[in-house]
Symmetry: C2
Subunit: 311 residues, 2 copies
């Protein structure tokens, strides 16, 4: 079983409007609601590929109840979310009918108490014993210690379970000392965390701080992986138009599946690029387009790079 952690689970709400006009009053047409948060999307992708997957994290209030209700409809996905007294956040994405542009509003999430965090850590320690891999994804809700991911990564490592971490800022930097197996920042998050404009240099910086391997996603530019075995770049055969929101989550799903299978890095990266492209081809994060996946998985270019020679 692959375990995904979503500490700030959300209800993702999409509003269809004719056209977004600041300062105006808009009639909302279609309203879609769906369980979200990065780890939930990762789990959805994995469940869709027939993987046994368990979702944990924090969820609360009437919005949290809607999150759980939506997850019940996903075949192969087990809900092991832990309740908190605060109300789970919503994200509202306003999609303009005229140009398809999306404008996103992200609530911060519920205030989590120290005792709620301890209860979660206890539950996590149980769940991780049944897991082959743990994927830890997304932002932290208010009230959690910024080393929350460090604590979970350390607990997984004690249990001998490898980890994939997809977060940014302080929660990312504070987790590195616990030695996560794979860290997946996107290019902007990497620059923000390290100050390095060069992706390879930034990835080495994160490795120097404790990450075993770093996979940097650059949208249509593909992936750069810096691992103990060297550097590789994986590039999609073509550029796809679509919805980039779920591409990072699909990438994490592929990395987690590859770790669970003990696959070779070249194959893992091909799969991750193909699955990311297949997510771009779908309008909703957590979905992947099977035809795009099949078309891309054999045509991704994976190149071994040599580290630059020292001067």
């Amino acid at each position: 079983m692959i375990l995904t952690v979503t500490l700030n689970a959300a209800l993702d709400v999409t509003y269809g409007v004719d056209s977004l006009r600041p300062r105006a009053s808009h009639r909302v047409g279609a309203v879609h609601r769906r369980a979200g948060g990065k780890g939930v999307n990762v789990a959805r992708v994995l469940a869709g590929r027939g993987r046994a997957v368990t979702v944990t994290g924090l969820v609360g209030g009437p919005t949290g109840a809607l999150v759980r209700e939506d997850l019940r409809a996903v075949r192969g996905l087990r809900d092991a979310l832990v309740p908190v007294s605060g109300e789970s956040r919503r994200t509202v994405t306003v999609v303009s009918g005229d140009d398809g542009d999306a404008t996103v509003f992200n609530e911060r999430g519920p205030q989590v108490s120290p005792s709620e965090w301890r209860a979660f850590a206890g539950r996590f320690a149980e769940l991780v014993r049944e897991a082959s891999v743990v994927a830890l994804c997304g932002s932290l809700p208010p009230g959690l210690p910024s080393d929350a991911y460090a604590q979970l990564v350390a607990r997984a490592a004690e249990t001998g379970v490898p980890t994939v971490l997809d977060t940014s800022g302080a929660p990312l930097l504070d987790a590195l000392g616990a030695r996560p197996d794979v860290v997946k920042p996107n290019a902007a998050e990497l620059v923000s965390a390290t100050g390095c404009e060069d992706a390879a240099a930034g990835a080495e910086r994160l490795r120097g701080l404790g990450a075993r391997s770093v996979v940097v996603s650059s949208g249509p530019g593909g992936l750069l992986a810096v691992t103990p075995g060297g550097r590789r770049r994986a590039v999609p055969p073509e550029r796809l138009a679509g919805n980039p929101t779920g591409a990072g989550d699909a990438c994490v799903a592929a990395l987690a599946a590859g770790l669970a299978d003990g696959a070779h890095w070249g194959d893992v990266l091909s799969d991750a690029v193909a699955l990311s492209a297949a997510a771009v081809a779908c309008p909703v994060a957590g979905d992947v387009d099977a035809a795009t996946y099949e078309r891309f998985r054999t045509t991704v270019t994976v190149e071994d790079l040599h580290a630059p020679q020292p001067h």
Copy 2:
């Protein structure tokens, strides 16, 4: 007791953002949630003035539960909302911190079945017997007949209870045949309903279709009342900056209170203009600023107008 009807009750959610930028992703700072819908706001204003008030209408789902929870905190307000199986709508207002501008997204509301509408009509018939006045406010949720207000106005008339109606478009036009006592369109709604650019002509048109009296609100321009006793204009002493969202609801509250008391039209209009101004001075619809109300109530100008002579 004054009865207010909100067939499309809402949870009004306000998101604070630094600045609204179309196509960007926004971190939402403060989130405020409050029971809303025009009739709910009218009831809040009346309760705040010490009036016994009952709120009815349709409410459902987890969002409906939050609406009811919020109403429990309002002293003097009785919740007689009728449950439906669909989920109550939310409105999301995004307020920019840089300029204070508000951008509003209004969901349509739950699908209401014919049997749910019949159940509501039965409950309304009971409630109206205890009421001195009924205020019917706002849009209709999907599934209701467009003559829903006509049915309720007719039932109130049969019971001998006067009605104030604040709606627009087809629900307004379809209600006039049932002879509501006071109809309160704003200037834009009046033009849209009648095609008359001139407010007095538009008001006469609505009276011709069945409205006994028409009060047209024109923001800082004040009110024009066309009644069986003649025409009057009520104008505030000064223009106030602020939030115009709740001004119409405060006006309806004053009209309902005036009808309940059998007050003279001149006094009712002064009070309505002062209470509208007091709502503009508050950041949230349903609240009124007591100092502004006291300052305006004695300084509103009410002028008797003569109908133009026939050619």
